[in-house]
Each structure stands twice: as C-alpha cells, then as structure tokens.
Symmetry: C2
Subunit: 419 residues, 2 copies
Amino acid sequence: MQRILSSQLTAHVRETVTIAGWIHRRRLLKAVAFLIVRDAEGLSQVVVTEPAARTQLEELTEETVVEVVATVTPNEQAPGGVELTEPKIRVLSGVAAPLPFELHRPAIGAALPTQLDHAALALRHPTRRSALRIAAAATAGFRAALTEQRFVEIQTPKIVASATESGANVFELDYFGRPGYLAQSPQFYKQLMVGVFERVFEVGPVFRAEPSDTVRHLAQYTSLDAEMGFIADHRDVMAMLTRTLSGMMAAAAPFAEVPPVPSEIPAVHFTEALRIAGAPADEPDLAPAHERALGEWALREHGSEFVYVTGYPMRKRPFYTHPDPARPAYSNGFDLLFRGLEIVTGGQRLHRWTDYVEALTRAGEPLEPYAGYLDGFRYGMPPHGGWAIGLERFVARLTGTANVREVTAFPRDLNRITP
Amino acid sequence: MQRILSSQLTAHVRETVTIAGWIHRRRLLKAVAFLIVRDAEGLSQVVVTEPAARTQLEELTEETVVEVVATVTPNEQAPGGVELTEPKIRVLSGVAAPLPFELHRPAIGAALPTQLDHAALALRHPTRRSALRIAAAATAGFRAALTEQRFVEIQTPKIVASATESGANVFELDYFGRPGYLAQSPQFYKQLMVGVFERVFEVGPVFRAEPSDTVRHLAQYTSLDAEMGFIADHRDVMAMLTRTLSGMMAAAAPFAEVPPVPSEIPAVHFTEALRIAGAPADEPDLAPAHERALGEWALREHGSEFVYVTGYPMRKRPFYTHPDPARPAYSNGFDLLFRGLEIVTGGQRLHRWTDYVEALTRAGEPLEPYAGYLDGFRYGMPPHGGWAIGLERFVARLTGTANVREVTAFPRDLNRITP
C-alpha cells in the first residue's frame, strides 16, 4: 500500500492507510497508549489499545523508524482532527543507542555543544529543522528574484592561488605540492563574470579562518553573492538588493514571520550614521553598539527593520571599492543592517585596470598575486557593483536566534570540525 | 536616457535609444564603418558614416566598453532587421592590452591553455558563454524538479575531519593547526539529512585531488546531489532521477539541443552489461570502451541516449552501498550513462547502524574516522538512496564538448590553480 504523509490524513477519513516516520513520542497510559509518529510534514497520533500492539510499543524507543497501517478515525481532540486506530506497527529501522537528548519538548534540553556533537539528531527537532527550511526558502527566493532580473548563476573556484579579501584569516592547503588557499569570497570571479553575462549570482560556501569564537562567526558559511554591470553607482546596486530581499522574504513567508521590506529602505551616509549613533565624528567604522542604535533609529523614524549605511571611509573598505567621486575619502560601499546587525556588504567596484594598479600600489600591495584577477580588467569592464549576504546571519536575525551555529546544519568553527 | 538591450531594438524602430556593451567587432570599409556591439542578449549593428565618429571608431579596439546613443533604423540586410544610425559613441571603459585572441570568429583560435590563462576574456566568446548558461539552466531545472517532489535544499561542510569516499585523492589543509580535508562529496551529510527532511538536495563544489590530467577530471567540480528516504530499493531512486533529468533537459532546452528523456530509461544489470559490451564475465567494472558500447546498444535497441547499469559488484562500490538482497555479491548501486559516458552514480545505501559497523569491519577500516557520520545512524534512519550528477560532465556531454575544462568557468586541475 502506498505510504501517505501526515498532512494527507484528513483526506482519507475511515480508510485504511499506511504512514511511516520516526517515533516522536510514546504516551503509555493505563487503558490506552498513544504513539506520535513524525514525518517530513508533521505529526500523526496513533491510538494503541490492542494488548499485543501495546507490548510491542513498550519495547520500542523514540526515533525508531516505523511503518504503521491503520484506520483514519475522526477525533476532535486529536491534533488535526484525526487519529489512527487499530494499527499494525512494523519497525523499519531500530535505535542502537540511548538518545543524548529528547526531541519532543519545545526546546532541546542539552547544552549547545552536546547538540552540535549529535547534530544529525538535533536537527530533527522542529525548531532546528524550521531554521534550515527557512534558509532553503530564502535561498530559492534569492535565485528567483535575480533570475527574473536577467542574472545568470555561476559556479566559481573555491581553491585559489592567493588570499582574496586580505592576507589574514585564510585556510592554506596542499595543492598538488604547492600552496593553495580556500576562497574567502567569490568576489574577483563574480566581477570577472560581469564581463560575460553582465549580471551574475552565486550561492556557495566561503571560508574564513576566524581566530575568534563568537556567536556570529563561522569558519564556513553560505554566501549569497550578486554582481551587476552598467550601473550608475552603488544606488543601482542597493535598489536591486532591496528588490531581491523582498523576494527572499516572500519566499520565506510560509515558514517564518517576516517583516515588511520597504520599497525604499532608509539610507544614511556614514558620517550621518555616526551622528545618529552618538559616536565621535572621527570613528573609522561602526561598532556593534552603533549598529544597534542605527537599527533602533530606523525603526523609530522610518518604521523599517532595515537600514542602509552608505559612504564608509575608503580606508576601511577593500582595495577594489570605488570611491565616492564627490568625496574621495569616502566610498561607494554600503552595508545593510537588519534589526541592528550587518547582514549584507556591497558597493560599487573599481572597473578600470589602471585604477586597480593605482589602488594596489597606493595600498603597498604587490600586483603579482592579483595578476590573474587583474587580467580580466585589461579587456574592458563596465561600471559594476554587487553584494554578499551571509545566509546564516540572515536566518539567525530573521528567527531571532542568538548563535549562528543554531541555524547551520553542521557548523565549522575554531574548535569544531566534526561531525 | 534608459539603456535598452540589443533584443529590444525592434520594439523601438525610428526612436533614439541608448545601448551599451562591448565592441565585438569593427568593419572599417571605405565609405562606411560598422560597429558591432555585444551585450548580455546579443549583437547590435551600428552604422558609422559621420567623419568624426569614424575617426573615433578607428582609435578604439575590440572589447572596449561603449555606450551608443543612436536611431533605430529598419534594414532588411542587418541582423535582426534593424541597425543603429547617426550614433554618438561614448567610451565607458577602455582596453589596456592587446587581446591575446579574437572573440568574433566562430571558434577561439588560441590553444586551450592560452584560453584558460585568459579565462575572463575567453568566456565572453558565444560558445563558452553558452555552455555556462546551459549549466545554469540545467541546475535551475534540477532544483525545480526536486523542490516539486518535496526535496529540501541543504548546505553542508566542505571541510571535514577525515576523507569520505576513500583515503586517496583528498586535499589536506591546515585547520587551525590540525589536519582537515576538503570534502570529496556531501555523501555522509546528505544521508544524515534524510533523517531531518526525508528528501534533500545540494548543489555545491566537491574536491578531488586527481593525480591524472584527463579531459574528464577536474580538481573541483559542481556536484548535483540528492538523497531520499522511505524507498523500497534503488529503483525508486532511478525513477526520481529520470524525472529530475527530464526537468533539467526541459530547463536547458531554450539554450541547447536536448535529447528526449524516455519516461522509463532502459536499465541493464551489470552482468548483462558485460555481455552486451562483449567483455569477459569476470570483469569487476566497466571500462570507457564498454560504456561506449552500452551507449550504442541503448540507442540502437531502445532509441535512448541514456541507459542505466544496475547491480555493480559490491567490491567495486563504496562501503555505504546496499547489497542486492537476492545476490549479495552485487549491489543496489547504479550508474547512468549519457551518450556512452557515466554522468551519474547512485544507489541504495545501508541504513542500519549495525550494517555500517559490519561493512567497515569487513573492509578492514577503523570505525573511529567515521564516528561522527555513524552516530546519526544510531538513531533510526529509513531505507534511503540517492545520486550525484557531475554538472560539468553533464554539460560537456550535452554540448558535445570533449574537454570538461571548456564548460567550466575557471577550471582547477593538476597543473592549474589560476586565474
């Protein structure tokens, strides 16, 4: 008999059906026992009264995989208005060790390190599973919004010959006997691909050898990158990002409470942002407390959970950043804050080969490590810009989760390389 | 004035428009000059007669990025039936070095290594760009087909504590002072995630330290992975793969000539495949010549460009492969051949913890390196299976390209880590 899902039960009232899933919980009362089976779509309640089935159930443990053939019976008190009666239970796969924590409570009782040690089990908990489903939906929304705007998906190298974003925080590997590095971003490649498709995006892993153990850093995270050519300046990029963000939220809406994305997200220049945050005018960057203050300001003044900060000082942005032509000490780079935390960095990039040579020379950097990257700029690149969204930070912020590890399937950090 | 694309010209006949793109080609005739501008959508022909514009054009070189304001004029002899006249040409970005090869001929004249050295330029050629667009479309089709079938997208670690597929061909890296390895596949993680979502997929990079330099191996390639639970055996996986492949072909159809995917792809058991290929009955695996013979057989006998080979001998498949219960020396693993080349490997996996322990012990492998992976199988995993499609091989086979490097944006191999 074809298996049906828990969500389909109500369409089969009084029929005999087959369901399958994990034993989520057993409740062994005196006269009756309840078996709650969890599948991809939710929970089913199975009522066990027959003595042999009761004995069988008493010997099983939570997370055993079972197939249940039973009758769908209406019961207003059951979740979903139906329960399964007169079950025949068959074990598909047993449990070989005591569970390190229970999955049927509102939150997992164990400490986070224990959860991460047993990630394959912890991720079955509804809250953990939900975060990953939101991530999947938001990612699909990202792609759909950009595909609609003529962006083409690319896949780029994760092993590179020299560090990209900076010399620090890079993983080194043995590449057929010579040194290689894990890419800290697809930055250079997505820029080069503007020369091919004008508009490109990539969803992929990026690697940062973060030496510090914080709630918002991972050694590997998923970066949602986009880059577009033929822009006037960074404001074209921000408009496209706003539209994309709106698509991501719409896609995530069936799985999460999402805030409205204003059609025009408030934007403040860095110098103004310092003033709003009450920071000294000579601060070179925004501290976390400043970001929080800006988030509060945007909500209070504009009713927006998002705020752009534009015009970051050139000296705090990477060498490929395009300066503001009117105020060259400031950049055409921006950050997007969501509920007071930076989740996107973007901006306009340099597009002329001579500007790159000059920028690297001024920074005292040798040209040689960037030769392969710079080569593409010799052959005509239009004005362009783009952004990178940190997926895990985005989901953590959206779901109100303090630690990005709780919304990552198998996180990697300073202390963790397993499971 | 808002820029329009080459594909939109015919909707603006006799209007003044702005286009922008790369100088694809100049033809400087005696009385007239033609400027062909390339943008994301195609080519536009600009007619230059005015002496000052002619002089300007003579000084520009191919690949210069220009903006052209001109009048759209019907001309039956022009490509698309329109050309641009009375142009004003503005340079957006110049060319800083002579081009190493021309882009306006049907094929790039330079040898492949030269093309790869200047990949950012070579990828602008219509044939190279087309292959990447096909890859993007097929990938979108893969995701759409699986999402429709309740698969959830996942992102898994690319840095792991021990080699996954085998001890060989793995890249080692320095992970905060201890050894780490680049994942050769998301195999273990996608299996563990069956315990969470029942059905999952991942599109991501995988890494193989291939010591040999062939036309079909890369050190990094894009793997289209899927895994599904609650199957009867590998045939459920094959049926889902066939459906997915059909979705990929439909998505690629606007950009490539795609073969029909039979609703039931012919499948032959390994022992039968040897007989068809004229190989000795004791061969443990299929050689490339055998695969080609099977491809020819499937086309001849079944009119199919695809053929499944099932039941590979257990001793040639990885330890997680599920044996055929009726003939335990053979597996429930399969390959899919496309035009005589293996592009997919899949099968049913072991799902019981005790079976894993036994399989590893029998293979003489220590359990310890697999501890994190095996832990998930202690807590109830349903019968499951899945597959991995090599995206670059798939596109190479679809487009009739001999070398996978020609359909990869910035390939990585034994000898190449740049650009």
